[in-house]
Symmetry: C2
Subunit: 325 residues, 2 copies
């Protein structure tokens, strides 16, 4: 058993589930006969688009912030994020009556900025480069003494994200496959650990945009390869794996499938038309993997016909005035 399993064992995930219970939604699991017949499999969608602040990120953020003492929280929490972690952390901080200092790139979308403001997050804008994000965050932290909460490379975050799959396994038995998108790997590593502990017969398959396939390259190349110039409409999946998420994924994920951008859009529209729910591009990536006729070269064959497949729909924060099609 490797080191991280000592940090994130079954009990730690169950504890996360208890920690967050009162502050997040136990989200619905939806089915669609229509999509089942299009895909040729039985799909069970865990709807984290209905989650507080619109994404699974609320699970990890709440778990982490509620693991901290009143003393720890005195100076507030801080992170850099252009997306759902920023809003989720702001909300979690608000629930504990403390401040959230959020460093956001100055090209962040209005809808993401508004979400952070909605939860009283204190925004500092920076240039949209990783270096400037990190430098600005370091300055904010040295000025405020706030505690940094990393969006994914943190055992408490990973355990929080694991609770989505845990709930799915409690509700739907005998899943052959569980799928999640992969960006920094917080959701995927949490999903993989939940599967390891609560449904070990289920195969974990990750889906990643072809234009941001650092996880795929790292996984099959057997060494950590950071993301360089990722390009995809799935804006939640631009980041690189972390030192904590990579080894969990390496050990407990069976397969990573990459998808074309067109398939992501097709999946989003299909979920819209057939299920009448809003998902953001990142959330559409697993379904895209089941939909695409011509998979990117290098993909291993993905056998999913007639299987029972759980899919984590990661979030639903999509700007109605700026659709990716």
């Amino acid at each position: 058993m490797t080191a991280y399993l000592h940090n994130i064992d079954e009990g730690f995930i169950r504890q996360a589930s208890n920690n967050i219970r009162k502050h997040i939604h136990r989200t619905a699991v939806l089915k669609s006969e229509n999509l089942n017949s299009i895909i040729g499999a039985s799909l069970f969608f865990k709807c984290e688009n209905f989650q507080k602040a619109g994404a699974f990120k609320s699970r990890g953020a709440v778990n982490t912030v509620f693991s901290l003492s009143v003393d720890d929280l005195k100076k507030g929490v801080a992170t850099h994020s252009s997306g759902n972690h920023a809003a989720a952390l702001s909300r979690a901080a608000q629930l504990r009556n403390t401040k959230a200092f959020i460093v956001m790139p100055d090209n962040s979308s209005k809808v993401k900025i508004d979400a952070v403001k909605n939860y009283n997050g204190i925004i500092t804008f920076c240039k949209p480069t990783l270096k400037d994000r990190e430098d600005t965050l370091r300055k904010i932290i040295s000025k405020t003494d706030a505690i940094e909460i990393h969006p994914y490379n943190d055992a408490r975050i990973i355990a929080g994200q694991a609770t989505a799959a845990m709930e799915l396994f409690e509700e739907i038995k005998d899943l052959d496959i569980i799928m999640a998108p992969v960006g920094g790997g917080g959701l995927l590593s949490g999903t993989a650990l939940a599967t390891h502990f609560f449904s070990p017969e289920t195969k974990v398959v990750a889906a990643e945009p072809e234009g941001a396939k650092d996880a795929c390259l790292s996984f099959y190349g057997n060494k950590f390869i950071p993301s360089t110039n990722p390009i995809t409409i799935a804006d939640g999946l631009l980041t690189s794996l972390g030192s904590l998420t990579y080894p969990i994924i390496k050990d407990h994920v069976a397969q990573i499938v990459t998808v074309h951008e067109e398939a992501i859009v097709k999946a989003m529209i299909l979920v819209w038309e057939r299920m009448k729910i809003i998902i953001e591009p990142s959330a559409a990536v697993p379904l895209a993997a089941l939909l695409q006729k011509n998979a990117p070269a290098g993909n291993k064959e993905f056998h999913f016909k007639n299987k029972r497949i759980g899919i984590i729909l990661s979030g639903g924060n999509l700007d109605p005035n700026n659709l990716p099609w």
Copy 2:
């Protein structure tokens, strides 16, 4: 007790509920703390956007088609409709292994045409005038001997639509108000009768676009006034009340509120952003009535603050490539 109550009594609605049970979804009732705090009331959304074929219309269509004998159905069923009734009737006919002849105006949206084709409805296009729709339908019926199924002016249709409110009352007790949009009045008259029989203390409030307010004029003018040149993005609410729906509405609806187009769009976007679900413009009209700051002149005061309000979200058939904003 007036004549129609002999036709549509409590037992007739319960029978409709039994008739359709296996062929429709018992749709979810959703809440949103976020919307409750924006509106200042407790809202309970009956999600007919998740209904089979994407709208409440499946209830009435299935009830009517399943009321017919194999002999009755030999020559098929027929209707003219540019919208959700067309798809719902096609689906119901398919379930009974018979044909659905659908007369559609030649300016119908691709998404509505595709929905009918998806259920093997046999489409005849006509010019987009009521006269041409009726003439073409008469020709089709004289050629095929198919049975006409009117979209709303039919006791079986009304009883079918009544089951949405009936289910809502079963699930949510002590509603102060129930709201539905009004076009031809099938949903509204069904909702009003379900309220009369199953939750008589609840006040029925209809919402109608200001640009298509024939129901409002008929209701307050005490005589049937047909719709003339209606203009609204709520394309399901363009039709006039019927001889059957008007008297039910007259007797059992407490109030009709009209809404501006901007409020309809605002309500759609709010439901998208806060609830992450897709609703079509017609479905947004009741929430629009709760949202609008400056109601159209002539509206009676509508007291909804701090009330428990059920809202029928009538449908979710919205073309992702043709949004009304």
